[in-house]
Amino acid sequence: MTTLPRPSLSLPGRRSAESPPWGYRARRSLKVMAVYGMVAVALVFFLFPYFWMVVSAFKSPGDVTAYPPVWLFEPTLDNFRELIESMGALSALRNSLIVVGLSTCLALIFGTMAAYALARFNIKGKETIALEILMVRMLPPIVSVIPLFLLARKFGLFDTYWILIAVYTLMGLPFVVWVMRVFVQEIPRSIEEAALVDGCTRLQVLFRISLPLMLPGLAATVVIIFMFAWNEYLFATMLTSSAAKTLPVVAANTVKPRGISWGLASAVGLLMSIPVVVLALLAQRYLVRGLTFGVVKG
């Protein structure tokens, strides 16, 4: 860009160079390599347990407990066969997907609408309402599980999808409300007012303007509440017996009276992790914040 001659520095021991000093580039790439190195170490540290679980899922009972650990072995599908044939893992997987999928959707829909109202409208005592919603989350689950069990029996909801969907929706709601409220607040009011003036109803403003701007928040929230519900064990084990049994209950059953069946535990762990990994990868591109960044400035 600059074609002007640079003022030559005639300080002793310093050459007036047209290009950056020698070695600058090399130092820079060294720095980049160091960063990559550290990232690699961190990845190995965090991913090794997962890797070990995946490997163990395909080991025979002898190989799993072998010491020193065997790295080369003959892979087997026995663990999965047993999970599916005698432990009902497939139907549990289906139950989990239905229950958690539906409750995540419901929590997201109701939670986002509540968050929008709490952030945008003048509601009397809305801070109190927001705190009350949060309190649902603060209640230790063990406190409510017995009453819920009794209620479920009374209304014939025991061992059905509906009781778990209700509980998981309720668990996810406070989180959605509190996270999404912040995202709504971050949207400049003038954007929504412009849409109102341009001919939108409030609901159109929400769906056409605000929701697209909240996508990063929605993506993050979906992953988190899905994971909470997906891993939930206490309610799942207390409120179901067989028909609506979910995967965490099956996973717990791999702890046998004679000890933990590591091969089975690894296999069910692998099975359980797949939907979460898939969801996180799908949501990943929205997780990059900053869609609303730089709206006002300029």
Partner: protein, 368 residues
């Protein structure tokens, strides 16, 4: 379309933001609400837009009462201070958005957006998104989005205040051209008196929630109804001095040449309007002071000279009181003695308590 507001009030908790504002804006008028920040001008505009609920009062578009209409039913277009562009939509989608909501067919939408973009010289930006364009370009896109629908009323809330000084002046001219071409009634909010003077067919000056004076720019400049209007409009601002109407025929003020410039008849006229009032404020605009060559006992000394090119600000002191005069180019030097002259018609005498300007009859411009 004409806009009429009647007895508009807005209370925020215990604070009165807008107090009994009424005005009638004619079809095709460029009407500017002018005032310092917090004077209620933006709130007034937002109530006309329907974005703010009224505490009391009525809003009419022509003869239709739109007081309780939602914004979308008022057929208005608004330009916001921070532009209010939709960041997730491209520039062309932003411009087409009002048409899309209104259900205009796609081809028609594209054609009209293209036309407006052409007129505002933003055709090259259509595919980009708002975060990728500059402030001036955002401003143009916001204007295009407002123009594309041919609204009945244009509302603009300090649309130029986020631009740098140079761009602000060029956009100002452009807005005036675009709006007068379209012939659409426009209500424009600003705190910048020069912007107001340059754009308006009529200005309403607001202060502390009240509409203090309504009139065309020169009316407001020449015949400010109150001390507030007199001091708010004009740059450098009007010189103000404390004075007294101490008998029926004498205006006592420092510097003395001002009092001497007012005839006895005129003093009596002021006095009759408010016989009980002793304290007044005497005002004179800097450009109404004529600096003449020193003749004998000159009445002022030059303290500072600011040559601005097209005019010169001369800071003077007379009878130990400082004031400023604006002249053409001058050879005056600091320390020179000059003779200051002023016509009595250019001297404003205002009530110190209420701020009312006695030189302007009370009905002037108010409640137009």
């Amino acid at each position: 379309m004409g806009v009429r507001i009647e007895g508009l009030w807005k209370l925020f908790g215990g604070h009165t933001a807008v107090r009994d504002v009424s005005v009638e804006i004619e079809d095709g008028e460029f009407f500017v609400l002018l005032g310092p920040s917090g004077c209620g001008k933006t709130t007034t505009l937002r109530m006309i837009a329907g974005l703010e609920n009224l505490s009391a009062g009525r809003v009419f578009f022509d003869d239709e009462d739109v007081t309780f209409f939602e914004p979308r039913r008022r057929d208005i277009a608004m330009v916001f201070q921070d532009y209010g562009l939709y960041p997730h939509l491209s520039v062309v989608d932003n411009i087409m958005f009002p048409l899309k909501v209104a259900g205009v067919p796609k081809d028609e939408r594209r054609r009209r957006a293209g036309e407006v973009a052409e007129r505002l010289e933003i055709s090259s930006l259509l595919k980009r998104k708002p975060p990728q364009i500059s402030g001036g370009e955002k401003q143009r896109v916001a204007l295009a989005r407002a123009l594309v629908r041919n609204p009945k009323v244009f509302l603009m809330d300090e649309p130029l205040s986020n631009l740098d000084a140079k761009l602000r002046v060029s956009m100002r001219t452009e807005i005036k051209r675009l709006v007068s071409d379209a012939g659409i009634t426009t209500i424009y909010v600003t705190h910048d008196q020069i912007e107001a003077m340059a754009l308006a067919t009529r200005i309403a000056v607001m202060n502390q929630g009240e509409m203090v004076q309504v009139g065309n720019p020169l009316e407001i400049y020449d015949r400010p109804a109150t001390r507030f209007v007199a001091s708010f409009i004009g740059s450098p601002p009007m010189n103000m001095f404390d004075g007294r109407l101490n008998s029926a025929e004498e205006l006592e003020v420092v510097p003395r040449f001002l009092g001497e410039a007012v005839s006895r008849a005129r003093v009596r006229q002021f006095y009759e309007q408010a016989p009980s009032i002793g304290g007044v404020v005497v005002g004179v605009r800097p450009e109404h002071l004529r600096l003449g060559a020193s003749v004998g006992a000159s009445n002022a000394v030059v303290e500072l000279v600011e040559p601005l090119g097209q005019s010169t600000n001369v800071y003077l002191r007379a009878d130990a009181t400082p004031f400023v005069a604006v002249t053409n180019r001058t050879t005056l030097q600091v320390g020179d003695r000059v003779d200051v002259q002023v016509d009595e018609s250019n001297i404003h005498v205002m009530d110190k308590e209420t701020g009312r300007n006695f030189a302007v009859s009370p009905d002037d411009g108010l409640g137009a």
